[in-house]
Symmetry: C2
Subunit: 412 residues, 2 copies
């Protein structure tokens, strides 16, 4: 696959406009945008994956309903209030869709809705719906950055990426925006990701590709082990690239799937790197496992461990905690065969071979782990036949004073 990264986000593909404005949901941050709209000029095939938390926010339930026919034209999303466990949640979520539909001249069924922020407080729906006409007027073909800003909560940087790839002789573009920061854990965190593409692809294929791409990106990151009530990843495909519609598995489908996964991984790693209070992006790769599932279970356990995360904050090569987190992951493996190494732009250091500590230069290890992007490389040595090696990479961040600070008084 050869994808080319390009500027922009959800408005990079043809026929998508976006906007983000301030309407006052984030009462503590009066200067920040808090309402986003993404709209397609043409009807879109659409697919989504949602939180597995059984406490689901109202917008999740409403969006799932609107997606039943596999079609959407727009997404409206607010930050500052999650509309979860909140009075009049469903009514308020529906009202957001209806306001967007009225302003765009489309059906409310064609609008997805998402919210992120505090749980349990009633959404100030009037503030939102009365501002939707202004929001719709602000839509533009380069409005992606404003929309990306409007879905941020404790995020410190906008997450916005786009790429292009050749499919069926046509240039297809895929773009996305996302927010993460806290309550981020495998099986979706408090994350919203909106992805657009001008690729022509059938609803069924899109649905399968989204599930697979999310599984190998957003579901492989963790900030704090908390799976939120609101997690949503929606993909809209409007077909304006005029490639031959992808309706079945094959070369085109694989190209689209790979490109979609590349975009989602980029959004997901940006979320992990911008985890609440994070000062390091921690990438853990488990290789030579019997199965990819086993490698994933172990890698997730390592990046989710509070003790491992705290050690990375201290740039401490405390590999014992890594073996410990592997050991309680639930995966079955032989500790006596495990090798562990740390790697970053400053070099690599092997710290454990066959389950036992290696002598290593502590000062050099510290230098390696002081880099922003650090890697944990774990080899299970389980490979039995060439080409049968299970491997998986997951992404997390360190645990810092600021994580505690941010979450000690997020609500009040």
């Amino acid at each position: 696959m050869s994808v080319k990264w390009i500027d922009g986000g959800v408005t990079a593909p043809q026929g998508f406009r976006a906007a983000g404005i301030h309407v006052g949901v984030k009462t503590h941050n009066p200067d920040k945008r808090d309402l986003a709209l993404i709209a397609s000029d043409a009807e879109c095939g659409a697919a989504a994956v949602f939180t597995k938390n059984i406490v689901k926010a109202a917008p999740v339930l409403v969006t799932r309903e609107h997606l039943a026919n596999g079609k959407l034209r727009a997404v409206i999303a607010n930050s500052g209030n999650a509309n979860a466990c909140a009075p009049n949640g469903e009514t308020n979520a529906r009202n957001m869709c209806e306001a967007a539909a009225a302003a765009l001249g489309i059906s409310a069924d064609d609008v997805a809705v998402a919210s992120t922020g505090v749980i349990g407080q009633e959404l100030p729906a009037e503030k939102i719906t009365s501002a939707v006409p202004e929001l719709a007027r602000a839509l533009s073909y380069d409005g992606s950055a404003d929309a990306a800003a409007a879905i941020m909560t404790t995020d410190t940087v906008k997450k916005e990426f786009a790429l292009e790839v050749q499919i069926g002789g046509k240039t297809v573009k895929i773009g996305g925006i996302a927010k993460g920061s806290g309550m981020i854990h495998p099986n979706m965190g408090t994350m919203l990701a909106f992805v657009t593409t001008d690729c022509a692809v059938s609803g069924g294929m899109l649905s399968a590709l989204v599930k697979s791409a999310a599984g190998e990106s957003f579901n492989r990151i963790s900030v704090d082990g908390d799976t939120s009530t609101n997690d949503t990843c929606i993909v809209l495909a409007n077909g304006l690239a005029c490639n031959a519609e992808i309706t079945e598995p094959g070369a085109d489908c694989e190209l689209l799937g790979d490109a979609l996964r590349a975009l989602c991984v980029r959004l997901a790693t940006a979320m992990a790197a911008d985890g609440e209070g994070a000062t390091h992006l921690v990438t853990c790769t488990v290789s030579n496992a019997e199965t990819e599932d086993k490698a994933e279970t172990i890698a997730k356990s390592v990046i989710s461990s509070s003790l491992v995360k705290a050690a990375f904050f201290g740039a401490d090569a405390n590999w014992g905690r890594i073996l410990c987190a592997m050991g309680y992951s639930g995966a079955d493996f032989d500790p006596e065969r495990v090798d562990v190494a740390f790697r970053s732009a400053a070099g690599a250091v092997a710290v454990c071979a066959s389950g036992r500590g290696l002598p290593f230069d502590e000062a050099r290890a510290k230098t390696i782990l002081t880099e922003h992007d650090v890697e944990v490389l774990i080899d299970l040595h389980e490979q039995t036949a060439p080409g049968e090696c299970g491997e998986c990479t997951c992404w997390g961040c360190d645990m810092t004073y600021d994580y505690v600070k941010i979450n000690g008084d997020y609500r009040t």
Copy 2:
């Protein structure tokens, strides 16, 4: 059951001596005791539960072997080094047992061994074994506090409790010491607990009672979600109380079981309250669940959530995070029936009824949550018939700057 709390710990029951001295394993803390010994004057029936982490420290493996015949006479334990994933681990663990056995004139098979501290570094076994004769000379019938001090790592307070209970017309005493602090999570944390009793009880019954007591105490606490490689809870019963030996279920067995559980709960809550950096003991009780298992799954998820823990640090009545943690626990329940309240010595406040936020006085909630001991009360309203209510209490602590500080540079 009427138990009477009394002074002391493992030396409160008849015929147990203990000691704790400094031998230099904790190189960073030269003034601290780091080697403990507990010895019984008579042979003991013994039982234990160990970590479920598949990476098990060498002392766990050796102790399990020595317990195969259900008999022990002594326990030797060090802090400062976990002897896990470490070179010569098993040899060093065996050497500790042999040194203790030689000093006590018993068989090495009758000695249990435990270690806690850094993973992956070779145990300074020579320092330990050469000091064992001095340690044995220090044994005394009121040496429990020294032993309790010698197993502490980042613990800030000694955990030492004892009680007495009348069984079969005799006064039976049970005493225990424990260490916890970090890597504490349901299914045993980095916790060591040594419990002694002069009760006469068969090996089979003791084993069942220990499993049950640990399941309802140590396995219901969490500090950070990390299950360590070294967790061990050992109970020694020397029969010197001269009650009729408990060999089967019945009234005496129930009395012993209740007393043992009471002692273990006291040790466990002391561990949770002294979790690394903790400023609050958080007790979560889930009631009116279909089953106790379901109540336990939900309560554990709540006390383990980083976001819930950070909110308690901020004395923030952020009940939305509690519903969220319940929702991803894996337990099936109806969010629309859930009530949540907070309670402490300063009062109680209901914050959520039938899954929706209640208006409440934020200042009063803050006052309630500012107390050291705070409770989360969750009612699932699932009870179907009188007396069939499933209920469970789990214990945790808040997440603070100090947790991160302690664990950011624990090793170096």
